[in-house]
């Protein structure tokens, strides 16, 4: 059986989303497993979103922001970085492999890097297999 993961991806508007667009304009092909959500800055991304994505059945979450120092809003990406490390520690405690959550920097000219990242992430998740969060929830709900 071929496992097709779903990956929710949060991209900042100024660098990473533009980079993903560039991958499109440059017609670079990548795995269709990434679902992109646009936020203005990676600093807007909060743990709630990430947990929600897992809860709704995402097998992986990918966060992309501007390269350090490049943030359109100066330091939003650093704040994202700090949250990322804490949330990664938390999801591990909750039995979720830390590789299911990834943070990377993609600039507006790095369409290719984004495409590669998407493929890489999909591969990683495929190796890890489906994320059991949603199943667990469903089992829980069945009890009642």
């Amino acid at each position: 059986m071929d496992f097709k993961p779903t990956i929710v991806s949060f991209l900042c508007n100024w660098c990473s989303y533009t980079g993903a667009d560039l991958a499109g304009t440059s017609r670079m092909k990548y795995a269709p497993n990434i679902r992109i959500i646009r936020v203005m800055c990676s600093g807007r991304i909060e743990p709630t979103f990430i947990l929600k994505a897992f809860r709704e059945g995402a097998d992986g979450v990918l966060i992309c922001g501007c390269h350090p120092g490049d943030c359109h809003y100066h330091e939003g990406n650093y704040k994202c970085l700090r949250r990322f490390h804490l949330i990664q520690k938390y999801i591990q405690q909750m039995g979720i492999n830390k590789d299911r959550l990834r943070l990377d920097w993609v600039s507006a000219s790095e369409g290719k890097q984004f495409a590669e990242l998407a493929d890489e992430m999909t591969e990683t998740i495929k190796e890890l297999g489906p994320c059991e969060v949603k199943n667990t929830m469903e089992k829980l709900d069945k009890i009642c």
Partner: protein, 328 residues
């Protein structure tokens, strides 16, 4: 009955029940002290097994909607909890999830880091003081010569009340502050307009900090996290500014900042303010933002100092949080 009696409002029918709870909530009801007389004057306690002698059959016998107000404390741990919760729901007009456990899962909810098997193994086999060479564990049905013995089913997961029945109001706290209970009680008795359903009552909209008397500034930058005993608290400065994790900002006020006044940081028993679904996640976000570093390695080192984020940020709210339990 005289005319007076007739005009007098009928006495409120009230029930109190506990699920997976420590009993503290029930005690908190008793903590009304002399006000108990007012309560008794206004309400009849129709079901409160811990205080008075009631049987399940009494409850079953009541017509639907017979009880005006039920304070259900404790989480749902087993089939008995669930059964009674559902029964009470059926019989009750206003069902209140009373206390942190019923509200969000509370301390028993921390069991969601483990499975049923792990818990049984630990309790009945592995604890140092246990001698159980045959590894006998509780069974749902156990045949004895006299017939079948039945124990409630021990669930794999702990749940807050609202995951098994519809809850009208939440009255948070571990245990709830007695004054808050009285306020709520009196409001119901007096027939004041009740807030919209499924909301928290008996707590403030604003978080702890609003009441907290410690000095707060914008200077929330953390280079190092401290456990409360690792630092000499000056009793005045905001815990967060001292690098001590305090869940106050993500926790409703209403308790009168009990812990903080006792120089211990808030642990979050009063649950999240409105609009926040997962206080742990919110607090993690806030705490991480305060870290005063941009270098990935330095950030990791600082975060390393938070030994148990899940336990710290979800002490009272794990079953009620987004992830609810550890994935196995």
């Amino acid at each position: 009955m005289g005319e007076d009696e007739k005009n007098k409002k009928p006495k409120l029918k009230m029930a109190v029940y506990w699920g997976a709870a420590c009993g503290g909530c029930c005690v908190s009801v008793l903590d009304v002290h002399e006000k108990l007389f007012d309560v008794v004057a206004a309400a009849d306690l129709v079901f409160w097994p811990i205080a008075l002698d009631f049987k399940y059959k009494d409850l079953k016998a009541m017509p639907d909607g017979y009880i005006d107000l039920t304070l259900y404390n404790g989480a749902i741990r087993n089939s008995e909890n669930q059964h009674i919760a559902m029964l009470l729901r059926q019989k009750t007009k206003i069902l209140v999830a009373y206390g942190s456990c019923a509200h969000m899962g509370g301390i028993p909810g921390l069991a969601n880091f483990s499975t049923k098997e792990q818990i049984f193994d630990r309790i009945y086999c592995d604890t140092e003081s246990t001698e159980n060479p045959e590894k006998i564990k509780p069974q749902h049905i156990y045949k004895v010569p006299e017939g079948e013995l039945e124990l409630p089913i021990f669930y794999n997961d702990v749940m807050p009340l609202d995951q098994v029945v519809c809850v009208d109001y939440y009255l948070p706290g571990c245990p709830p502050q007695t004054e808050r209970l009285l306020e709520v009680f009196m409001a119901i008795v007096n027939g004041s307009e009740l807030p919209s359903k499924k909301t928290v009552i008996g707590a403030y909209e604003k978080s702890q900090c609003d009441e907290c008397e410690r000095k707060k500034t914008e200077n929330k930058k953390i280079k190092k996290f401290y456990r409360p005993w690792e630092i000499e608290d000056d009793g005045e400065t905001c815990f967060l500014e001292q690098g001590v994790i305090c869940l106050g900002p993500a926790t409703r006020g209403g308790c009168g900042t009990r812990c903080i006044k006792g120089n211990a940081p808030c642990r979050g028993c009063y649950g999240p303010p409105p609009d926040v679904s997962d206080p742990g996640a919110k607090m993690m976000s806030a705490i991480a933002t305060m870290i005063d570093a941009n270098d990935p390695e330095e950030i990791e080192n600082i975060i390393e100092q938070i030994e148990d984020p899940a336990g710290t940020f979800y002490r009272f709210s794990l079953p009620g949080s987004i992830l609810r339990r550890k994935v196995v």
